[in-house]
């Protein structure tokens, strides 16, 4: 019976791991997809048309007209109220001034600036909410105001929600709130949209609008640069270890220790080394640049590449090499013509896994290549300019952004993109390995 309990314990730990993986990936996938597929309002279509030149202009102008029609009563009510206040004198104005200002602010962030008023300077203030779910949150903000209730002496102030209509009790403006609540969908005209531009558009105004193309491109440059630097070095090192050095010689043991030490170095130390060596000492670039970041990442993935290349080369059957020797080929010829091609699938698997690793690493690029705000780089720029990158910008958007709550969908979308990228690369490697082992067995 103890036996079965022990089995149960082991199985429960595996189940727990599977549950943890699911709990980790589920919110990321579900809310990340929400960055691509959501109910977009007319404001979203306006942004797409004006900033990125997409969409159907006739349909858009029809929509805009309908929205303006639906919003007009709201603005009329407010201007009537303001005129009324003017006639009533200073006391009345003072009583409602603060509440009215707040109301107008919330309305402006919900619907955008009033028509026929000057354009606000910030792009995010020039449009209302582009997503229906965020608009609903703003609607709550419009209808309810949060206040602190200090009446209970045992608790330090409880947050309560007070209907904003109470501020305007007894005036005409009270009708504004039920009107907005009922007619918001006509004012914003939400429609299910598939925003594929999330991956291909530049971001506008600190990721309030637009997509994540510069970050995607930056990650792409860094990963490609890293593997371009690490692959030749790694494969040649592996060839030396497998073919040329005597097994178990001191040199080989030393190299192995170095490789495993390099693999164990924390990633932030790689970042500091990249800063101190590539940028400060060698000056491969004036300050941060993609080149320095790629070199640092290459160092990080070098042990992985060497290990997988070594494994692949060792797995080449001796018969192949001996056949080549017996035909009169020299050592180097054998390696180039026989061993390397035979080991190519294994090396490729290692390359793909290393690319996945390099794409997801943040700490090495913090000091060497990553900036928070920037445009997509051209190939020539990469030698001297830093770039936004997916992992770094995920961190930045979550912690150092002014309105992190507003752009949650962008954060989730970025994380989904990064995780999907890495998982696709790794699944590719697993599939490659499975096919290879099948071929070897048959």
């Amino acid at each position: 019976m103890l036996d079965r309990l022990f089995t149960g314990l082991g199985i429960s730990s595996i189940v727990l791991m599977a549950v943890a993986l699911l709990v980790l990936l589920a919110p990321i996938v579900v809310r990340g997809v929400g960055a691509f597929v959501f109910r977009g309002t007319v404001e979203h279509r306006k942004v797409l048309a004006k900033e990125f030149g997409r969409g159907k202009p006739e349909q858009l102008s029809l929509d805009v007209k309908r929205a303006v029609e639906a919003r007009r009563p709201v603005y009329n009510m407010i201007s009537r109220f303001e005129n009324d206040l003017e006639t009533r004198g200073f006391a009345a104005k003072r009583k409602y001034a603060a509440a009215l200002d707040e109301l107008k602010d919330v309305l402006a962030s919900l619907l955008g600036p009033e028509p026929n008023t000057p354009q606000p300077p910030l792009l995010r203030e020039q449009y209302g909410h582009t997503r229906w779910d965020r608009a609903q949150v703003e609607l709550d903000e419009l209808l309810l105001r949060s206040e602190y209730d200090f009446s209970d002496p045992t608790v330090m102030g409880r947050q309560v929600k007070v209907p904003r209509a109470k501020d305007f009790e007894g005036t005409e403006l009270v009708e504004l709130f039920p009107y907005v609540e009922q007619h918001l969908s006509e004012m914003l005209l939400p429609r299910w949209t598939f925003y594929w531009g999330f991956l291909l558009d530049d971001s506008r105004d600190a990721h309030f609008f637009g997509g994540i193309w510069p970050e995607l491109l930056g990650t792409f440059y860094l990963t490609l640069g890293a593997i371009l630097c690490a692959l030749p070095l790694g494969v040649i090192s592996a060839i030396y270890i497998v073919e040329y050095a005597r097994a178990d010689s001191r040199v080989v043991r030393l190299i192995r220790t170095c490789i495993s030490t390099l693999a164990g170095v924390p990633s932030i130390v790689f970042g500091l080394f990249g800063l101190a060596f590539f940028i400060n000492a060698l000056s491969v670039s004036q300050s941060k640049s993609v080149l320095a970041g790629a070199l640092t990442l290459a160092l990080l993935i070098l042990p992985l590449v060497i290990r997988s290349a070594e494994e692949a080369l060792r797995a080449v059957p001796k018969a192949y090499k001996e056949a080549a020797y017996s035909l009169g080929a020299g050592k180097w010829r054998t390696i180039c013509a026989v061993s390397l091609p035979a080991a190519m699938p294994g090396i490729l698997t290692g390359v793909v896994i290393s690319m996945g690793r390099a794409a997801g690493e943040t700490a090495p690029i913090i000091f060497t290549a990553a900036v928070s705000v920037g445009g997509a780089l051209t190939l020539w720029d990469t030698f001297a300019e830093p770039t936004p990158a997916l992992p770094w910008n995920i961190y930045n958007l979550c912690t150092e952004h002014q309105a992190a709550d507003e752009i949650r969908h962008v954060q989730y979308g970025m994380v989904l993109t990064l995780v999907a990228l890495v998982l696709v690369l790794n699944s590719l490697a697993i599939a490659l390995r499975a096919r290879m082992s099948q071929r070897l067995r048959s």
């Binding site: 791991m17 190299i255 130390v269 500091l272 997801g360 995780v419 998982l423």
Partner: protein
């Protein structure tokens, strides 16, 4: 051969450059303050660079993560290597590799955006639920084990009734304690969702694949002969595992734990985002619900301000921390290699 030595050259250069930039700090401020003082105020005037709180923070989250990854990892490895059928293994191994491949910033995002608010609003409930999930099965196992031990000491004629009575007696002793502990946990108020507990759990999750794969390799390399010998002598699976296989693989399992520690101590993004970044030693030191700060988060976070004053103590202290990290990882690497080689030499001799 020259090219092959790039890795050796690289590690040498890393050591040289980190030491080169870390030494000025120790020349400027000496060694004692860094390791013994817990007041970390690098931007005050005059600044103080006492990193004890940060070192304790690193140690605390590493301990927490091994407490999570160790038991689960070894149990999962044992399960994978000996208990699960082959077809299930084909599915579980890729799942573990997937868990290992997820980037650390995604874990950090999850810790900050999902776990931290949950801990803050429902912390007590979550702790109580976790306690029940763990103490439930463990409690059942304990009751049955102790009950069977106790009943084996009774005279033979009580038989099955004696077993049940012994189990019931042990249960009456243990269950109230478990229930009371659960309720006490349920009433805890978590003040800040970004704390050492959050980070420990996520770091444990990240170190889990490493521990599982290396332990499983070690358990596999024990070989069929030992297992078959034990079964031939009439041992049950539990006895074979606990008395033959695991002791034979213990050096590999120790190496797995060390590698897990190395992974946890060197992790930057998760701790930077979700540990609270308060450079203070929690009161009492084992209070995981307080925010802490680790070496890696300090390096990553402070470099932004320190870079403007290159050449000052503030810049060099970060290299000193990097040196500490490098030394720790190098030391653990040597220990794990030593443990592995000793284990393999013992098994071949």
């Amino acid at each position: 051969m020259l090219v092959a030595s790039t890795s050796a050259v690289a590690i040498l250069f890393i050591f040289v450059f980190i030491v080169k930039d870390a030494l000025p700090f120790f020349q400027l401020r000496g060694v004692r303050e860094f390791f013994a003082s817990a007041s970390w105020y690098p931007s005050a005037g005059p600044p103080s660079f006492g990193a004890l709180a940060i070192l304790v923070g690193s140690g605390l989250v590493t301990l927490g993560s091994i407490a999570v990854a160790g038991p689960f990892g070894i149990a999962a490895a044992v399960c994978l290597s000996d208990i699960l059928p082959f077809r299930v293994r084909q599915w579980v191994k890729p799942m573990i590799e997937l868990l290992a491949a997820i980037p650390s910033v995604a874990f950090g995002f999850f810790a900050l955006v999902v776990v931290a608010p949950l801990l803050q609003s429902h912390g007590g409930t979550i702790l109580m639920a976790a306690w029940w999930m763990i103490s439930g099965p463990v409690g059942v196992v304990l009751v049955i084990v102790l009950g069977s031990v106790a009943s084996s000491m009774l005279p033979e004629r009580f038989g099955r009734l004696g077993l049940i009575a012994a189990c019931a007696a042990i249960a009456i002793l243990i269950v109230p304690f478990i229930v009371r502990a659960g309720y006490w946990l349920g009433r805890i108020e978590v003040h800040s969702g970004t704390n050492a507990l959050n980070v420990s759990i996520i770091l444990g999750l990240m170190a889990l694949p490493t521990v599982v794969s290396v332990s499983e390799d070690a358990l596999q390399s024990v070989g069929r002969e030992l297992r078959e010998g034990a079964y031939a002598l009439g041992a049950t699976r539990f006895e074979t595992l606990t008395r033959v296989v695991i002791p034979a693989a213990r050096s590999g399992i120790a190496a797995a734990l060390i590698l897990g520690v190395m992974r946890a101590i060197g992790e930057t993004m998760v701790v930077w985002m979700a540990s609270g970044n308060a450079a203070q030693i929690p009161k009492p030191w084992y209070n995981l619900l307080d925010p802490v700060r680790t070496l890696t988060a300090t390096i990553a976070g402070d470099m932004g301000e320190a870079d403007h004053v290159t050449g000052s103590a503030r810049y060099h202290v970060l290299f000193a921390m990097a040196l500490v990290l490098l030394a720790i990882s190098f030391l653990f690497n040597l220990i794990s290699e030593h443990v592995l080689s000793r284990g393999s030499s013992r098994s071949t001799s």
